[in-house]
Amino acid sequence: MKTFNYHVPKAVKEASKLASTSSAFLAGGMTTIPSLKLGLATYKDIIDIKSIKKLSGIKVSGKSVTIGATTKHAEVAASKEVQKAIPALAKLAGNIGDAQVRNRGTIGGSISNNDPSACYPSACMALNATIHTNSRKISASKFFTGMFETALKKGELVEAVEFEVPEKADYQKHPNPASRYAIIGVFVAKNKKEVNVAVTGAKSSVYIDKDLSKKLTSSFSSSSIEGIKLDHSEMNSDMHASSEYRANLVSLYAKKAVEAC
């Protein structure tokens, strides 16, 4: 690991000021630390935001669930309020990685990294989440811009994620047998106005499957998407799963998610 300056700001403003083109914000460090260790990434400054108190915590109102950026997966999974308001979200958090990862990894880190097979981005997309940063609010549909890419600008820091409370929702994933990341993950949310089927793992970045969402919006039952053949031409194909297999899994797990709603 190359040497770097380690900063522990107490406030968001201070954190933002420290940021540069060769810096990284550090929360759980579940991606950043291994990248540093393997020499895949080098930074001049590491800005540890875990000491900024206001970035952590869960707030639930009737219409929304707001989770602070440095809130750990284990905290979301164990939150009685989240379990009550959006049980699918608590379930998703409780199945990320393993116990060690869940006790270090954070929601802000997960979405800022936008790993194509991370779980949280699908929840953001399906639940029409709003990403609160230190300078603006970004809707999830505009936040995830590509593989490991987001709309975040230099020095911009995710402060919280605000999810709409759906009528019903469920998340189903087919884990990669080696890493246990999602080979594919499907988040189905029946919101007031529409049904969103958000898919992670299948393509270069999370997306809403329009076909599945449309069919389920007109009739929210698994039979309405039974046997649907999805186009797999843009889907990932690697040693763990071919695009054809991924397409099969997406429609299958969408069905499972609807049935579990």
Binding site: H174, P177, A178, S179, Y245, N248, L252
Partner: protein
């Protein structure tokens, strides 16, 4: 006193391991040590045109940089193949030189080219980045099936062929096949595995400039053997100036048998730079450079009669050695594989032909089971397929071909001393509720799932001794084992063994047997291993040999202690030696009932005299002290055997395979500690299920390892397994006085075919290769659905 052999004594090791008090090589630090980082080839095959170390030498904190040029100049020898195998035509095997640092050509990704020593680890890494190697990339040979048709990667090794070996009688096999009603054929790939010991390899070297002695702390399964190889072949130091210590070692599975490049280089270099050196592998280095396991491509045939008798067997295998032939690399696919490929059956005619090839991949060597899992997979797939094609129950066809008596003269090499294969399979059937399977299958079917059952009956030849036998087959050393039992004057006992525990619980098992022999509490016994300055000598631990060879050496040394104790007791109690009985730690004069405890005898042996009287307890012809040693060379290999039954349920929508039930019935002869043996079986089965369903080592066509981390290499985890249902039968081995048989590898030998037979049963007999991953199974389910639809 109740016998400790046979009881579930808690492990003496657990206290330190569970509290994090283990002392592993990486835990050792020596004042003034430097840190080593190796510069490794990023290419699978490349000519090394030049190595420029000038920038690295100037890098901050760098103490030294050494390359293949310097090691060649110092005439340090390379890594060795421990077994010489002859081809069918009588020619000797072809083995290329394997220098510790590659000088002219690199032959696999990760092969060390140079080494940088620096004051800190980070400075060593920084320095290593500044070593510039000028490569000319050559086309890599990766696929073992193509190796013989590809350009030779080593000078003097035509067709990349190490040997073309035959065991058995082709003519007799041809005749048997001509008479057969049916020929059953399989084409199999035994997938390459990365051993993945929990503790990565490491070494710490301390050179004493005064005594000129090198102390090497290393992650080895066999420190004495490492010393021998480094001294005799490496020329690093004479044996008396080289101390090899393998402290706590966190798993080996065969991958820590070899003396590796890093140990040789660091030992040599420590003397050169006159500084201690520490090197600890990173996980990626483990993936790239630990010896891998398996990697066979096999075509095998079984000739059968319509009533299910086996008439003949043939096996044509290409074994991938990787880039170089290492210690057990050449014997694993020959004598550890070929003889066992006819399994537990009386087959009148058989042969195994193995072509071992070099490729630009990591060297392949022994991995838990070494050759015997590959053998069992071959025969047990054939047997299961024969049952299916002949319409005979899969257990019945096995029973039909089991030997009817013991000793069982197995077709190719071994004479199996004892066993009862029928009893094992009957017990497994009963424990697995074999007859209830159809009802469970129907239940699975009703919920849209496919359920299959698989059986495997195995035997294996382990212990890897007697020496005369293994040396006649080409082994470079005798594979006996030694022990020394030191009774201290105050009654505690140190048991020195040449075996090496890296997870096998020797501290406990060996203490149990010594305690029984000597009649003392096992708390008084310490088992000492892993240090060439302590034990006499030793061949180490692999091939399930610790108890059957090393344990017996301990028993024999204890018997010598008791024999001497009897003589001393007779003199002290003033009776004849034959009037003394030794029982429960006491020497009793039968007539007078006078007695001396073994502790009193030990005390007397060390203090042989008394005040005011010239009187010694030591009989004439004996010497003071109470230390005895033994070198044990058994009369035969050890032949554990058993039958395993597995049930899987497949979700045809996803292809996920769930192991629902796993029953193992094994015959390990007399069992010293059932708890430890069960642990060994659990681990072995877990590894076997890993091979069958999860693990796969994949190189791309350029020889880059695609599965070089846990992100891509699937290690099985606890939630992949059901609770294992274990049972035992017992026939005593006749080749050793305890009647024990090896148990360390059996689980990994029996389980891959058991699981695969179940998967293939669920898939209606469709062949599928290991690992049966979800996508492969999903595709097979689609084919099955189509063919079922057609049939309907």
């Amino acid at each position: 006193m109740a016998s400790l052999v046979g009881s579930r004594v808690e492990r003496k090791e657990d206290g330190r391991f569970l509290q994090g008090k283990g002392r592993y090589t990486a835990d050792i630090n020596i004042a003034n040590q430097t840190y080593a980082i190796f510069v490794r080839s990023p290419h699978a095959r490349a000519k090394i045109k030049g190595v420029d170390t000038s920038k690295a030498l100037k890098s901050s904190g760098v103490v030294g940089v050494l390359t293949g040029k310097e090691i060649a100049e110092d005439k340090i020898g390379g890594l060795i193949a421990g077994w010489a195998i002859r081809s069918e035509d009588g020619s000797e095997m072809k083995v290329p030189a394997n220098p510790p640092l590659a000088k002219d050509v690199a032959n696999f990704v990760g092969e060390p080219i140079a080494v940088v020593f620096a004051e800190t680890l980070d400075e060593a890494k920084e320095g290593a980045e500044k070593v510039k190697v000028d490569y000319k990339i050559l086309k890599a040979v990766v696929d073992p099936s193509d190796a013989m048709k590809s350009e030779a990667i080593h000078d003097g090794v035509d067709k990349n062929l190490c040997y073309d070996w035959l065991l058995g009688d082709r003519k007799a096999v041809d005749e048997a096949f001509a008479k057969a009603d049916k020929i059953i054929k399989v084409d199999l790939i035994n997938n390459r595995l990365v051993p993945n010991a929990m503790e990565p390899r490491a070494c710490v070297v301390d050179y004493n400039t005064a005594s000129e002695e090198i102390t090497l702390y290393t992650t080895s399964q066999n420190p004495h053997l490492s010393r021998l190889v480094m001294s005799a072949f490496g020329g690093v130091a004479p044996e008396n100036k080289l101390r090899v210590v393998a402290p706590d070692v966190g798993g080996g599975f065969g991958s820590k048998i070899n003396v590796y490049n890093e140990e040789i280089v660091c030992s040599w270099a420590s003397k050169k730079i006159e500084r201690p050196i520490k090197w600890v592998a990173e996980r990626t280095e483990s993936f790239l450079t630990d010896t891998h396991g398996r990697d066979h491509v096999t075509h095998a045939e079984l000739a059968v009669s319509n009533d299910g008798k086996f008439l003949g067997f043939k096996n044509e295998t290409i074994a991938n050695l990787g880039a170089y032939a290492r210690v057990f690399g050449t014997v694993t696919p020959t004598y550890l594989f070929g003889p066992c490929a006819t399994g537990v059956y009386t087959i009148p005619a058989a042969y195994s032909n193995v072509k071992a090839v070099y490729t630009n991949t990591a060297p392949v060597d022994a991995y838990r089971g070494a050759g015997r899992p590959e053998a069992t997979y071959t025969i047990e797939r054939l047997v299961e397929k024969a049952a299916m094609e002949l319409g005979i129950d899969k257990t019945e066809i096995r029973m039909k071909n089991f030997p009817s008596e013991f000793p069982f003269k197995q077709t190719l090499v071994h004479t199996v001393d004892s066993g009862d294969y029928v009893a094992g399979l009957e017990k497994a059937k009963q424990m697995a509720d074999y007859s209830g399977f159809e009802a469970r299958r129907k239940k699975s079917e009703a919920s849209g799932k496919l359920r299959g059952i698989g059986v495997s009956s195995y035997f294996e030849a382990c212990g890897i001794a007697p020496s005369a036998a293994v040396m006649s087959l080409g082994c470079g050393v005798g594979l006996w084992e030694s022990a020394e039992v030191r009774f201290n004057p105050t009654g505690q006992i140190s048991v020195f063994t040449g075996a090496h525990s890296h997870g096998q619980s020797h501290d406990t098992t060996f203490a149990q047997i010594a305690a029984d022999e000597l009649g003392v509490p096992m708390e008084n016994i310490d088992v000492v291993h892993g240090d060439t300055d302590k034990g006499t000598f030793g061949m180490g631990t692999y091939g399930s040999r610790s108890l059957t060879v090393g344990g017996i050496a301990i028993v024999n040394a204890c018997k010598k202690i008791v024999a001497k104790g009897k003589r001393v007791a007779a003199k002290m109690l003033e009776v004849n030696e034959d009037e003394i009985e030794f029982k429960d730690g006491e020497f009793v004069a039968l007539k007078s009932n006078k007695k001396k405890t073994i502790g009193e005898i030990a005390f007397a042996c060390y203090l042989p005299g008394q005040r005011d009287e010239m009187k010694s307890p030591i009989p004439e012809g004996d010497e003071p002290g109470l230390i005895e040693s033994s070198f044990f060379d058994p009369a035969n290999f050890s032949f554990p055997a058993g039958s395993h039954i597995c049930e899987v349920e497949i979700d045809p929508d996803t292809g996920n395979v769930k192991v629902e039930k796993y029953t193992a019935v094994d015959d390990f002869g007399r069992i010293v500690n059932p708890m430890i043996v069960e642990g060994q079986v659990h681990g072995g089965i877990a590894q076997g299920i890993g091979q069958a369903l999860h693990e796969n080592t994949q190189y791309d066509e350029t020889g880059q390892l695609m599965t070089a981390s846990y992100m891509d290499y699937t290690m099985p985890r606890a939630d992949n397994f059901p609770e294992f249902n274990l049972g035992f039968t017992c026939t005593h081995a006749t080749s050793n006085p305890l009647g024990v048989k090896g148990c360390g590898e059996a689980g990994a030998i029996a389980s891959p075919p058991t699981v695969m037979n179940a998967v293939i049963d669920a898939l209606g007999g469709q062949e599928i290769s290991m690992p049966a991953t979800a996508e492969k199974v999903w595709k097979a389910c689609k084919t099955l659905k189509k063919s079922n639809a057609k049939a309907a």
